[in-house]
């Protein structure tokens, strides 16, 4: 019963957060973490996944109604969704998006249910060299898929990896970068950093910027019916988006955002009427929205099977599981199978809840977008402060959160992505353990990694990706020069 309530609360909050521009699912999930401490690990996981899932549903509402994406993964929906609304087909667009999201979410959950245990078993053969090689690949991919340039992504990743090394080193109990401070002996906790960088930073941005409230027209239930042509045109994009989104979720970085762009491009290429795209093509709405829902479930696979979060929301979930002393990874299915299967069951139910919430209540959620930030942000600010203090009764954590928020504001202004930093903080200890264990296993001779085929495969993929990226940059520069001539 508790898990069902957690699922509902997560789904509802997630939808609301998805509708509201600014506060994203990652900040909300970080905010929810202190409250999940009183319950079991599966309850916390369900609630946070519900928030992430729900935000994908909610983000499309304001994209379609007022051309303002509720969150990053709904940017593409604005292109054709708003055009459909201008033609008086807003209700149909919202209904098709809700149904498409439901189908995609179900396909994603089925994929997670079947692939995760299989991959988890395969990952049992991973040793420290394989983990190290996989993380090198993940770091390179992550830095390329986040932010303006890979350079900024790698720099932020490096800073995150460094921050994770502050405190007593678990391998030899040696304090590092504590400078005599007792507070730093335990390291810098992930939760204040996450709430600072995702919550406080956003609050400061909204406080500084001038926010214009959208005007949302009333939507009646009877206006939600799509016509036969719209339904027929939506079927294939929904299924294509679902499969595409699921596999995009396996990639490091903002997979939900990436999946929407890839889906939109694909639908445009496959469409018999590509000239309609940008003018209200239903395929351009349902395909990407299905993709981003399915991507959420795909992103859970590396987290649950390897214990490696590829996206910021997954990093928050990993932190939540660790607080409950549950270590995701290949052994999750042996030591805590109840966590995984309870999660799967709750997601099926949560998906149905989201469909029920989003169809008849779409008008209500659209109204939420008109809540003034002058009312919402003060409330969220104090929730952040009290929430983070309540975790360990530590004023130090509150200071960390505030300082992170201020630094995050400047980083965001200068175009530095935060997700690689957060993932670096979370993966730092695992990376260090893998590196040290690998060095000790190989007695310092790293060329012995070439005796490990899985590790070599990952390193080869890393090299291929780097070469492709550099080639692409050179080609782009030379074509720019030719155009300049």
């Amino acid at each position: 019963m508790v898990n069902l309530v957690a699922c509902f609360v997560g789904a509802l909050l997630g939808t609301i957060v998805g509708v509201l521009p600014g506060l994203g699912p990652t900040a909300t999930m970080a905010l929810m973490l202190p409250f999940t401490l009183n319950y079991g690990p599966e309850t916390g996981l369900i609630m946070m996944a519900g928030v992430w899932f729900g935000s994908q549903y909610g983000g499309s509402t304001t994209s379609i109604l007022v051309n303002i994406p509720g969150e990053a993964a709904s940017v593409v929906t604005c292109l054709d969704g708003y055009q459909m609304a201008k033609k008086g087909r807003a209700g149909a667009a919202l209904a098709l998006v809700a149904i498409g999201s439901f189908i995609a979410g179900t396909i994603g959950i089925i994929g997670l249910q079947f692939f995760a245990p299989v991959l988890g078993n395969a990952a049992l053969s991973f040793g420290p060299p394989e983990y190290l090689a996989f993380m090198v690949l993940a770091f390179v991919l992550l830095s390329n898929l986040s932010g303006d340039t890979p350079l900024k992504g790698l720099l932020m990743l490096g800073l995150g990896l460094f921050i994770s090394s502050i405190g007593i080193n678990p391998l030899d109990s040696y304090p590092r970068f504590t400078f005599g401070s007792e507070k730093l002996m335990l390291g810098i906790e992930f939760l204040p950093l996450a709430m600072g960088f995702f919550g406080i930073t956003e609050i400061l941005h909204i406080a500084v910027e001038t926010y214009v409230l959208p005007v949302v027209e009333k939507l009646r239930l009877k206006e939600l019916y799509p016509n036969k042509k719209e339904i027929r045109r939506s079927i294939s994009p929904i299924f294509r988006g679902s499969v595409l989104g699921f596999f995009c979720g396996l990639l490091p970085g903002p997979s939900t955002v990436i999946s929407t762009f890839i889906s939109y491009s694909l639908e445009k290429r496959l469409s018999k009427a590509p000239q309609e795209f940008g003018k209200g093509a239903v395929e351009g709405v349902v395909g990407p929205e299905s993709a981003n829902n399915s991507a959420v479930m795909g992103s859970m696979i590396p987290l649950l099977t390897l214990g490696i979060p590829f996206a910021a929301p997954c990093a928050v979930m990993l932190a939540g599981l660790r607080i409950h002393h549950v270590e995701p990874g290949p052994l999750l299915f042996k030591t805590n199978p109840d966590v995984f299967w309870t999660f799967i069951a709750a997601m099926y139910i949560g998906n149905i809840m989201l469909l029920i919430l989003n169809l008849p209540l779409v008008g209500f959620f659209a109204r939420i977008a008109t809540i003034r930030p002058q009312l919402l942000m003060p409330f969220i600010s104090v929730i952040c402060l009290v929430g983070i203090y309540s975790v360990r009764n530590s004023i130090f954590d509150v200071w960390v959160m505030i300082i992170s928020g201020v630094i995050g504001y400047f980083l965001r202004r200068w175009g530095f992505p935060i997700a690689p930093f957060i993932i670096g903080v979370v993966l730092g200890p695992m990376t260090e353990n893998s590196l040290r264990q690998t060095l000790m296993m190989f007695r310092g001779n790293m060329t012995r990694i070439f005796d490990r085929p899985i590790a070599v495969t990952f390193l080869s993929l890393t090299l291929v990706f780097i070469i492709l990226r550099i080639s692409y940059l050179f080609l782009r520069r030379s074509s720019n020069r030719q155009e300049g001539l």
């Binding site: 409250f35 009183n38 350079l151 900024k152 790698l154 720099l155 990743l157 490096g158 800073l159 990896l161 460094f162 090394s165 080193n169 391998l171 040696y174 590092r176 970068f177 406080i200 609050i203 400061l204 406080a207 500084v208 910027e209 001038t210 003034r372 930030p373 002058q374 009312l375 942000m377 003060p378 409330f379 600010s381 104090v382 929730i383 402060l385 009290v386 203090y389 309540s390 009764n393 004023i395 509150v398 200071w399 505030i402 928020g405 201020v406 504001y409 400047f410 202004r413 200068w414 990376t431 260090e432 590196l435 040290r436 060095l439 000790m440 190989f442 007695r443 310092g444 001779n445 790293m446």
Partner: protein, 137 residues
């Protein structure tokens, strides 16, 4: 760049050990040398050659609001252990409302009282989390 130099120097002080028996300084040394230092240098060079950066604040009012928000956060942190979370939350919410230019005084006060009450009920009654009550005992 400065940070990476500090990390490198301090890591060398901790000892890098040997490759077959890595010391506590090896990992942060690697991170600084292979990630933080080179990319901060490259970005610095690119930044100084690419022209003017984006402004941090739209105008001085934006900067003023930014400062006031930070000061309110600091007020909450410094006063909470002494005055208690309820009173400080009430005052801080009111301050946040005025910084964000919520009109009048009735709405900020109503929101502050409502927020403080909600937080009190949430943390004390529902979650049973003991927070400093300060002068409210």
């Amino acid at each position: 760049m400065v940070l990476s130099m500090v990390i490198i120097i301090v890591s060398l002080g901790y000892g890098l050990g040997a490759l077959k028996r890595p010391g506590p300084g090896l990992y942060p040394f690697f991170v600084a040398v292979f990630l933080i230092l080179p990319f901060s240098i490259i970005l610095y060079i690119l930044g100084t050659t690419s022209g003017r950066a984006k402004p941090l604040f739209i105008d001085r009012y934006g900067f003023g609001k930014f400062l006031l928000m930070i000061l309110t956060f600091i007020l909450w942190v410094t006063a909470m252990p002494y005055l208690g979370y309820v009173i400080v939350t009430l005052v801080a919410t009111c301050c946040f409302c005025k910084v964000m230019r919520l009109e009048g005084w009735l709405k900020p006060i109503a929101l502050s009282v409502g927020t403080a009450l909600f937080i009190y009920l949430l943390f004390d009654y529902w979650l049973y989390i003991d927070l400093p009550r300060g002068i409210l005992g």
